[in-house]
Amino acid sequence: MTTHPHKDYAGAKLGMWLFLFTELLLFGGMFLLYSVYFKRYPQEFAAGGRQLDWIMGTVNTVILLTSSLCAAMAVTAVQRDELRRAVALIGGTILCAAGFMVIKYVEWSAKIGHGIYPGSEHLKSGPPGESVFFSLYFITTGIHGLHVLIGGALLAWIALKIKGGEVNAGNDILLENGALYWHLVDLIWIFIFPLYYLIL
């Protein structure tokens, strides 16, 4: 049962979309917690949000949007059979992903340096809502960061497949699905960013 006479592209795409639903719902659980606790501790959440660096958040948003643009352009490039350009564009996406992670690292280490991390003494002694806000922040952005790493690795693997000739204009479903995954990672950040960095 290893031979498949014809590939079902629509099926592969449907499967990917279904998988993306599951990712949305995974983060949905965290957004649900956010909304309930936000209603309970609006002041503490606003105070917590002010402690986050909105400039770094904005830069990261721009970086991720650019990375998504590169991913979308890579798909078009492969469909036009411009394989070298496609690999370069995926390289751009991965570079953006790396930049995003570096900024995230700087942000996290600054917070941890100030004694703000889940379970820290500082948060234990502060107001309860602040502890909830930062625990949610670290868990949500942590899981999102994990998705950035997975997405970057996935795209790197697909770039190798393009170089190897396995992904090309006639057979681009892998890249299309990989790019869809990347857009999802981007999309989730678009929700995380205002909820954590831009609340009043």
């Binding site: 049962m1 290893t2 079902d8 629509a10 099926g11 592969a12 449907l14 499967g15 279904l18 998988f19 639903f21 599951t22 990712e23 949305l24 719902l25 995974l26 983060f27 949905g28 659980g29 965290m30 649900l32 917690l33 309930v36 606790y37 309970r40 501790y41 503490e44 991390y117 889940p118 379970g119 948060l123 234990k124 107001p127 309860p128 809502g129 602040e130 502890s131 909830v132 625990s135 949610l136 670290f138 868990i139 899981i143």
Partner: protein, 541 residues
Amino acid sequence: MDSNVQKVTAQPSCFWNDTGKSGLTSWIFSTDHKRIGLLYFYATFGFFLTGVLLGLLLRVELMAPGRTIVGPQTYNALFTVHGVVMIFLFIIPGIPGAFGNMVMPIQVGARDVSFPRLNLLSWWLYITGAIIILTSLFSGGGAPDTGWTFYVPFSSRTGTNVSLAVFGVFIVGFSSILTGVNFVTTIHRLRAEGMTWGRLPLFTWSLYATAWVQILATPILAITLVLIMTERLLGAGLFDPARGGDPIMYQHLFWIYSHPAVYIMILPAMGIVSDIIPVFSRKPIFGYKMIAFSSIAIAAAGSLVWGHHMFTSGMSDTAVMVFSFLTFVVAIPSAIKVFNWVSTLYRGSISLEAPMLFALSFILLFSIGGLSGLILGSAATDVHVHDTHFVVGHFHYVMFGGTGFAIFAAMHYWLPKFYGRRYAEKPAVVAWALMFTGFNVLYFTMQVLGMKGMPRRYYDYLPEFATLNLVATVGSWILAAGLVIMLVNLFRGLWWGAPFEGNPWGGATLEWSIPTPPPTENFVEEPTVTHGPYDFTGIGR
């Protein structure tokens, strides 16, 4: 596994031998949906037997008041592991993983599922998760003692190995999601020519509804389990009132998954029953469209009723009323199914063979379970019986009397198709009678005990409950005796029994139109479907 491969190699060319590969690796690395289905079957059924043993131990402990064989800590671990194994390793993956994989692609007229390699990955994730869960029992602080619901705050504080067990369940959940993705895609994309939505067998319809629940609900479980791990490992405090968190939020998240999950468990069982009853009544199913629709309706409405697990946890009265109302709404599509099955039986030419007996007991036992569920769904009565043996009895009526008996029905109905050999009828009927009797003695007694006020999850009880507990324990032995007879008879038959050829049950769905056992490619030539799944015209017995 290997020994039974040998037994069947004497058969004509079929999926057991026609790939030219044999041995363990041809199974555990196979992408053939039938082989993966059998792998799931043996793995899940192995865990079922493990769970049964634990359950029997629980009943022995409760046979008499006071300490009988184990102390409180061991008792806590026993009921937790019984629950975790039965729920996450048997009953959730049981029907979709085993019979869904074996039968569904053939029923829609496909050669395999949409993503055969993903299917294999799901099985491996399932096994990996299972191994992690088993490891958690014997390492760290010992077997989890929280109950299968892992409620905070206890689960974030207990010294037992909750983190590892929860991680194992997380991995198993991943497997469930991938199966769901695979099945929805397969049913959308790989139906044979002429296999319209109106001609899909109802088992496939039920798997379709189930797969959506697997896709939409399981991620919530995943994040909930991650949050337990962050509570334990990082001390995040999201569910800790001292730190601004709220334990009730854990219960909400947990039940947002786990209530729909009971529909992952029961819906495909209803599908099995919908497929078996018309075949053994020689009549087209009554209300095909309504049964198919009610599967979707149960999946949809069932996603909105999780709060009924929390009537006594602390919710606003409005929330209690809304959740209670929605719970009663779910009863409607469930009742639609029951009435349609009964109407199918009406004036049918019924033959009471083993699969039919199990399917008929499903209707009765599920109805008892379902009606007792309404007592729990109504807020006023729930407060009285909450956390008593009534809940245990109710749950087992639905899950064991329902899904369990449907799985036994499926084993007698479909396994001969895949082995090409049949079991002996008489011992199967004796086994059924014993199990049916033992089941009711065990669980009906539990419901009575619960009404009298015996709490669940206690290893000890007041002397006034002693007689009924003894009766329940004796019931568990009758049930176990029937189970042993059923298994010996079934597997002896599958391996050494008389040949099972052609279409002995007279089924009209596609799996009965292909050779027995099926060839690896399922269909000798691409099928074209010209009649409905329960159109028995011209199909004899």
